[in-house]
Each structure stands twice: as structure tokens, then as C-alpha cells.
């Protein structure tokens, strides 16, 4: 097994370095998710001035998503369309980017448009990235270029993280000096993990 040590160590190091900034994104966002009240106090989201405009013509397309995409193209806005709400006289939908939430409401009777925006800041941009693509609105998810890329990165992040844990265990096991204390750390972690889950379920 020792002959694999240098190669696995190199891969562990390079993959670890590559995903370390993403680990920061996912870790910081956990704190933000868990303590929203605290974050709201020192880093509140800022509502930007509303924009009222008019479309020369609503660019109806083959589907609601295509219509919404055509509308944001005309309005020169880009981002991920989260969901589309269609009523008798309006179409409305959020268009999101990490840290910036935009809501567009189009009045279909007179083609007027109301755009509201909220700058949520850097910390909340990490929570947006953490929750994307996520389990909701699957049929229209990844309708923007950046989320298509993020989806691949998010999956890649998890697979690399799993590789790092497996390779980390291998590298630790080879090191005789750390084996005993490592066993204690591992056993303590298992005990803690199983203990909490037993209480929860």
C-alpha cells in the first residue's frame, strides 16, 4: 500500500487546495443559514430603488420560461429565473444571482414592468450558492449559464470532498505515529455522530 502513498498524497494536496475556497463558501453559508437573525442585524439586505418601465411588446414564446427569458433579455437583466407565476393580467418571476435578488412583474394588459431589487450582500450570496441547484423547481432549474456551471462545480465539490476523506483516511493509516490518536479521534467522532442521531430519531 505504501507505494501509492506519494501519488495519493499529491492528489489529496492538489484537490484539497482546489476545493478549499469552495469549502469556505459552503462552511460560511452554514453559519448564515443557522443564524439569520444575527446576520440580519449587522449585514441587512438593502432594497434598491424600484424601476418602472414599459415593454414595447411582450415577447410571448413557446413556454412560460422562454417568455420570461425573452422578457429579461429585453430588460437587459440576467440571472436564474427561480419560478414563474402567471395570472390573468400579469406574469411575475424572480431572477436571482448570488447576492442579488430581482423580482419582475409584467402587467400583460398594458405591458408595464415593475422591477424590484434587493442587494443581499456577500454573506448571503454564499447561502444562495449553497442552496443551488437544490430540490425545488427542478423542471426549470439551471436556466442560466452561471447555474449550469455552478451545478457541475457543486457536484464536483462533493465528489472531490468524498475523495479527500477517503484519501485522508488512507494517508493517516499509513502514518504509524498518528494511528493511535487518530483511532481515538475517529471513535469519538463516530460516538458523537451515532449519539446525536439516536437522540434525534
Amino acid at each position: 500500500m505504501k507505494k501509492y502513498y506519494p501519488a495519493i498524497r499529491m492528489l489529496h494536496l492538489y484537490f484539497g487546495l482546489f476545493i478549499s475556497p469552495f469549502v469556505l463558501i459552503f462552511s460560511i453559508s452554514v453559519i448564515i443559514f443557522n443564524h439569520p437573525g444575527f446576520i440580519n442585524r449587522f449585514n441587512p439586505a438593502i432594497a434598491l430603488p424600484d424601476i418602472k418601465t414599459k415593454l414595447d411588446k411582450i415577447p410571448y414564446d413557446t413556454s412560460d420560461l422562454q417568455t420570461a427569458k425573452a422578457i429579461i433579455r429585453k430588460l437587459n437583466i440576467n440571472g436564474e429565473i427561480d419560478f414563474i407565476s402567471k395570472k390573468d393580467s400579469s406574469i411575475s418571476f424572480p431572477v436571482n444571482k448570488p447576492g442579488l435578488r430581482t423580482h419582475i412583474t409584467v402587467n400583460t394588459t398594458n405591458d408595464s414592468v415593475l422591477i424590484t431589487q434587493k442587494n443581499e450582500g456577500t454573506l448571503r450570496s454564499t447561502t444562495y450558492l449553497h442552496s443551488m441547484p437544490g430540490p425545488h423547481n427542478v423542471s426549470i432549474r439551471s436556466n442560466s449559464a452561471f447555474l449550469k456551471i455552478w451545478r457541475i462545480l457543486a457536484d464536483g465539490f462533493v465528489y472531490i470532498l468524498l475523495f479527500l476523506t477517503a484519501s485522508g483516511v488512507f494517508l493517516w493509516y499509513i502514518l504509524n505515529a498518528e494511528r493511535v490518536i487518530g483511532m481515538y479521534a475517529l471513535a469519538l467522532g463516530v460516538l458523537f455522530f451515532v449519539g446525536i442521531l439516536l437522540f434525534i430519531f
Partner: protein, 211 residues
């Protein structure tokens, strides 16, 4: 000389921290990695939980004579029904009380009628995939009331564990940078790999919303 000694000590403990923290959090990292994949890939057969949920309705007579505030009433009801979990969606009227009690993989919607003294429970049980998925997001945070604390002890404990894992991962990152920096001459590609990852992260977190 003393600084050299300090650096040597730092490297020694930093390496130990990296190895043992990683081992301690191993199962937690696996859990959150797998649950993250399940959340992002609802189309996988293994992620399917909603269609396989089990729903039951239980009607129980309940003692409701002592009317007090909703919090005391809820505690009393839950002890009579012998259930535990995170309470949410509480709505109280003169003649009834509606609330929800959830645990990862289990959601109960309860309707108590004060006049008839009957509690109707709709219980939903998820399969293993559902339980794992809900563990990923189970923090007791109410989006409409962000200052509200978790009201079930184990929601608080789980939330604390999630915080600990997040801090642990941050420490693992920092310790990995320190370890690599020491041997950067041997792993010269480290700069490029780190800058590439950092660049991508900075683009998504800071730059994208300005474009």
C-alpha cells in the same frame, strides 16, 4: 531563533489538527456530502422519498380543560400525546389549536378541537433518503421569524453540530494551506490550483452580481 521554534511548533500542531479533526468529522462530512447530492439530484431513484412517504391519521381524545397560553398548552398536549420534535406553524383560535411537530423524516400536523376534546394527527414518515435529506436542512430556523430559537433540544444540538462542522471545515482549510505552504517548493502547481479555485469562488461570490 524563537520565531523558528514557534513556526516548528505551529507546523507540528497544525498537522495534528488537520489529521484528527478530519477523522473526527469523517461521518458528518459523509452525511452532508451524500445528503447534498440527494438534494441536488431529485431525479435519482435513490433520492425518491415523497412518493414513498407513509401517511397515517390518528384521532386521540385529549384533555383540554386547563386553558392557558399557547406555549403551556402545546407542552401539555405533546406530553399527553407522547410526541417530541420541533414545533412550528402554531395557530390558535378560541375553539381549536393547529400546529406542526417535525423531526428529520417525520412530520405531524395536529389539530386540537377544544370543544370535542379530540386531537387529529396526520403523520408523515419518510424513507431513509427522506430522513437523510431533512437532516441536511434541519436547523429549526423560521424564515419569517429569523430571531426565533429552536424549541426542541435536539434541533438546537443538531444546529450546533452543523456550526461545529462548518468551523471544523474552515480549520481544515486553513491548516491545509499552512501545510502546503511549508512544502510549496515541492508542489509548485499548488499556486496555480489554489488561484484557479479561488478565482472561481471569487467570481461566484463577488463578481457575478455586478455583471
Amino acid at each position: 531563533m524563537q520565531f523558528q521554534k514557534f513556526l516548528k511548533e505551529l507546523n507540528f500542531w497544525n498537522r495534528k489538527l488537520h489529521i484528527h479533526l478530519g477523522l473526527f468529522f469523517l461521518l458528518f462530512i459523509w452525511l452532508f456530502s451524500v445528503s447534498g447530492l440527494l438534494l441536488n439530484h431529485g431525479e435519482w431513484k435513490i433520492s425518491s422519498f415523497w412518493d414513498e412517504r407513509k401517511e397515517t391519521e390518528i384521532v386521540t381524545p385529549i384533555h383540554t380543560s386547563n386553558r392557558s397560553d399557547s406555549s403551556t398548552l402545546l407542552k401539555d398536549m405533546m406530553s399527553q400525546l407522547e410526541i417530541a420534535g420541533e414545533i412550528s406553524n402554531v395557530k390558535m383560535w378560541a375553539d381549536s389549536l393547529h400546529f406542526r411537530v417535525s423531526k428529520p423524516g417525520e412530520v405531524r400536523t395536529l389539530k386540537v378541537n377544544f370543544i370535542t376534546g379530540v386531537c387529529t394527527q396526520k403523520e408523515m414518515q419518510y424513507n431513509l433518503a427522506g430522513k437523510i435529506r431533512t437532516l441536511h436542512t434541519f436547523n429549526g430556523v423560521d424564515k419569517n421569524n429569523p430571531d426565533m430559537q429552536a424549541n426542541w433540544l435536539f434541533t438546537g444540538v443538531w444546529r450546533l453540530s452543523m456550526d461545529a462542522i462548518a468551523i471544523g471545515l474552515l480549520l481544515l482549510c486553513i491548516s491545509s494551506w499552512i501545510m502546503w505552504f511549508k512544502i510549496r517548493e515541492r508542489y509548485r502547481w499548488g499556486w496555480i490550483v489554489l488561484i484557479f479555485g479561488l478565482g472561481a469562488a471569487v467570481y461566484f461570490v463577488f463578481i457575478l452580481r455586478m455583471l
